[in-house]
């Protein structure tokens, strides 16, 4: 196959590209330029958006002996990911930009371009597995290494997209093994720190970054009875589940800690309540995207609402027009905008964006 390997400059995508070469594919490396004016060097443990990362990716491609290009997707990335991220927060929601990037950039703009240019598949360094059923239908599964599993951020991929996706690291034992493999292959990125946080927030301080982009005005903090309990500096600066930094003048009647239950940027209010009130047992989301066959109402599945969150049992209550699942054991601090990913064992069933949690 002709495989386009997305290379961020990090160890995972470099080893993924190497494994694709080993598998006998004709591999071409591509680094996505997601910023028009990339910083020249990394600050801290970030990896994917700097000139240094582009150079690391190019060097890895050189070692693998594959052609390498930089493709400018900055415009798409700004529009689909960064602007969306800001707009979501401004609307009082909590988006996952990595999910969004996979849905709109890597497995959309990039994959479309790759297929149009004659490539058969796109390889990335995600830890997840595409397994094939007897008739060749692709299924998305969790990675072998549960600690590194990244299937959550891929839960937005349709079977059509999965059909042209390669995740060569899906069966890696663990990150240590991947680093050792990079070292053995002479890839200089073997010791490069993991990237985390949000790649387009240069210093990792998302709150300050958002604060500079979302106009804020002070407003009321209310309790669930609608009583005024304090003041906030701008509703968009709060997240469901947040406890610190509320600066409530009046303690709760029972003296117990209070958490953000709801953020309404329309009313410019923040509603707080007890830990119990933070737990939801019904998850109402938007229209689902299925990675394979759709489940049926009444199916017992697992649901995960954060990239590094744990999976809890759920029962499908409604599929159309929007997904609703009940969560018998309850889920804590689920915010609108988060992605709910459904699992059936290790298989990713699909996903939907959380609307209102009640």
């Amino acid at each position: 196959m002709r495989v386009l390997a997305a290379m961020s400059g990090g160890v995972d995508s470099a080893v993924a590209a190497a494994r694709a070469v080993d598998a006998g594919h004709e591999v071409v490396g591509v680094h996505l330029a997601l910023s028009r004016n990339p910083a020249t060097a990394r600050n801290g443990a970030r990896g994917c958006c700097t000139v240094e990362d582009a150079r690391d990716a190019r060097r890895a491609a050189d070692v693998l002996g594959i052609p390498f290009y930089v493709w400018d997707l900055a415009e798409d990335f700004t529009r689909e990911v960064i602007d969306d991220f800001v707009a979501e927060y401004a609307a009082g929601r909590t988006p996952n930009p990595c999910v969004r990037c996979n849905e709109k950039i890597k497995f959309s703009a990039l994959l479309d371009k790759a297929l149009a240019l004659g490539f058969d598949a796109l390889a990335t360094g995600h830890y997840a597995r595409v397994l094939r059923t007897g008739d060749g239908t692709p299924e998305l599964h969790r990675a072998l290494d549960a600690a590194k599993d990244q299937s959550y951020v891929l839960g937005v991929l349709t079977p059509e997209r999965l059909d042209t996706a390669l995740f060569p690291l899906g069966d890696a034992a663990d990150k240590k093994a991947v680093r050792a493999e990079a070292d053995r292959r002479g890839l200089m990125v073997a010791e490069k720190p993991d990237s985390h946080d949000i790649c387009f927030v240069p210093d990792g301080d998302t709150r300050t970054w958002l604060g500079a982009r979302i106009p804020s005005r002070p407003g009321d903090v209310l309790d669930t009875d609608g009583e005024l309990v304090g003041a906030h500096s701008g509703a968009a600066g709060y997240t469901v589940g947040q406890r610190r930094g509320l600066n409530l003048g009046r303690p709760a009647a029972d003296g117990r800690p209070r958490y953000v239950l709801e953020v309404s940027t329309a009313d410019n209010t923040v509603t707080v309540g007890s830990a119990e009130e933070l737990v939801t047992d019904v998850l109402a989301a938007g229209p689902p995207t299925w990675c394979g066959p759709a489940p049926s109402v009444g199916d017992t599945l697992g649901v995960q609402v954060q990239a590094h969150g744990r999976e809890v049992g759920c029962v499908v209550e409604q599929l159309e027009p929007a997904l609703v699942v009940s969560v018998p054991d309850g889920l804590r601090a689920v915010a609108p905008g988060q992605t709910a990913v459904l699992y059936d064992g290790t298989r990713v069933v699909g996903s939907a964006t959380v609307g209102t949690a009640s």
């Binding site: 990339p38 900055a74 703009a109 479309d112 240019l117």
Partner: protein, 397 residues
């Protein structure tokens, strides 16, 4: 087989230059040393200087060797600015072409950011040619405030030859020094330093069959500039640093050979270029040639083509995969393609500029190279257009 159509980036070394460089690399000696090895090295340098000077009609004392075009451009722009403003603090204005190479553009912008320079970017017409009337008007507005004028001899992207003689004439009467980046011109067009009236001219080895990392600034006798590199006082104190004798030797050999061959070589290469453009057009009828369509107004080896509905990086990849090597022509920042300031200055819409490719021919180019491109370009453009459409649809999804 690979069709190398990127001579404007780097042209292969001429065999005689490579041989001279290899032979010289084996010799010991620092050209600044006083012992016999040093004297031998110095003699090679000085003979090379005389050869470069003679071949471009300059005096030997007017040749300042540098480590390439970027260094020579920096030395000219910064050195002249500092010298001129040191003599008269009113001389803050730099008049520079809007389509200069980044080796001129960026030092000029740096002087504006850090040294208080005021910059006037001189506009070009739709062919990429400088508007001399604007230059005259800018000078006449306040001649005493102009530190220098810098206008390239010929553009590296679209190949347009600039009206250097008129630029010099406009500046001369006010005693304003003029620099010209001629790295694309030397060996491709007749270049006569004395006749040009220029005060400073940049050339570099790897565009004319010499090595990368060797270049020169021709600096008119009597024109002073402030050094950028300080140290051992080599090159009359204008450019300190131990000379790379082998590279200087190879630069001189290449310059002499390239200039000697230029009259007939430029005719041969221009004919090849014309067949390239015609060949591509026969397969892709709506291809557009940027720059001056009149061969007299453009570099003989330059064919700058735009393919509607395509992205340059798609074309580049698809051609590379078929063994055709070319360039998008515009500068990259860490491999990140930036919109071409040259095409922008020419008023080319961004959507069209995105589909630009520069094919550049040189001394090793043959009809077979052109044939290979013409054979590949049809399916490549078709595929790149499909990819371009995929992008448009993907964006609206």
């Amino acid at each position: 087989m690979t069709a190398y159509l990127d001579h404007a980036a780097t042209t292969p070394m001429l065999p005689e230059a490579l041989a001279a460089m290899a032979a010289e690399l084996a010799e010991p000696g620092n050209a600044s040393s006083l012992h016999s090895s040093g004297r031998r090295a110095r003699r090679v340098v000085e003979e090379s200087r005389e050869q470069v000077a003679a071949t471009l009609d300059a005096g030997p004392h007017e040749v300042v060797f540098t480590a390439g075009g970027t260094e020579a451009d920096n030395l000219a722009v910064k050195g002249l600015y500092w010298q001129r403003i040191g003599q008269d603090s009113r001389r803050r204005r730099i008049l520079a072409g809007a389509v200069e190479h980044h080796a001129v553009l960026d030092p000029v912008a740096w002087l504006r950011e850090h040294e208080g320079a005021e910059v006037v970017w001189l506009p070009v017409d739709h062919l990429g040619r400088l508007d001399v009337d604007v230059l005259r008007a800018e000078i006449q507005r306040d001649p005493a405030s102009v530190a220098l004028v810098t206008v390239m001899w010929a553009n590296n992207e679209v190949g347009t030859v600039q009206p250097v003689a008129q630029v010099v004439a406009a500046a001369r009467e006010h005693g304003i020094p003029v620099h010209s980046d001629a790295v694309q011109a030397v060996g491709a067009l007749p270049v006569d330093f004395a006749a040009s009236g220029l005060d400073a001219l940049t050339l570099t080895g790897h565009k004319l069959g010499g090595p990368v990392g060797a270049g020169a600034l021709l600096l008119r006798r009597g024109v002073d500039l402030t050094p950028v590199l300080h140290g051992g006082g080599q090159e009359r104190g204008v450019r300190s640093g131990t000379l790379d004798v082998a590279a200087v030797r190879a630069l001189a050999v290449a310059a002499v050979a390239a200039v000697a061959r230029q009259p007939h070589e430029s005719v041969r290469v221009a004919a090849l270029r014309d067949s390239l453009v015609a060949g591509v057009r026969s397969v892709v009828p709506d291809v557009a040639l940027s720059g001056d369509p009149d061969p007299a107004g453009r570099l003989p080896g330059n064919a700058h083509l735009t393919f509607e509905g395509c992205e340059g990086d798609s074309l580049l990849y698809l051609l590379d995969a078929r063994g055709v090597e070319c360039s998008t022509g515009s500068a990259c920042q860490a491999g990140v393609p930036q919109p071409s300031h040259v095409l922008q200055a020419m008023g080319v819409e961004d959507s069209r500029a995105r589909g630009a490719l520069r094919f550049s021919l040189g001394h090793t180019s043959t009809p077979a190279d052109v044939a290979e491109l013409v054979a590949a370009i049809g399916p490549v453009v078709e595929r790149a257009r499909t990819a371009g459409l995929a992008r448009v649809h993907g964006a609206s999804r």
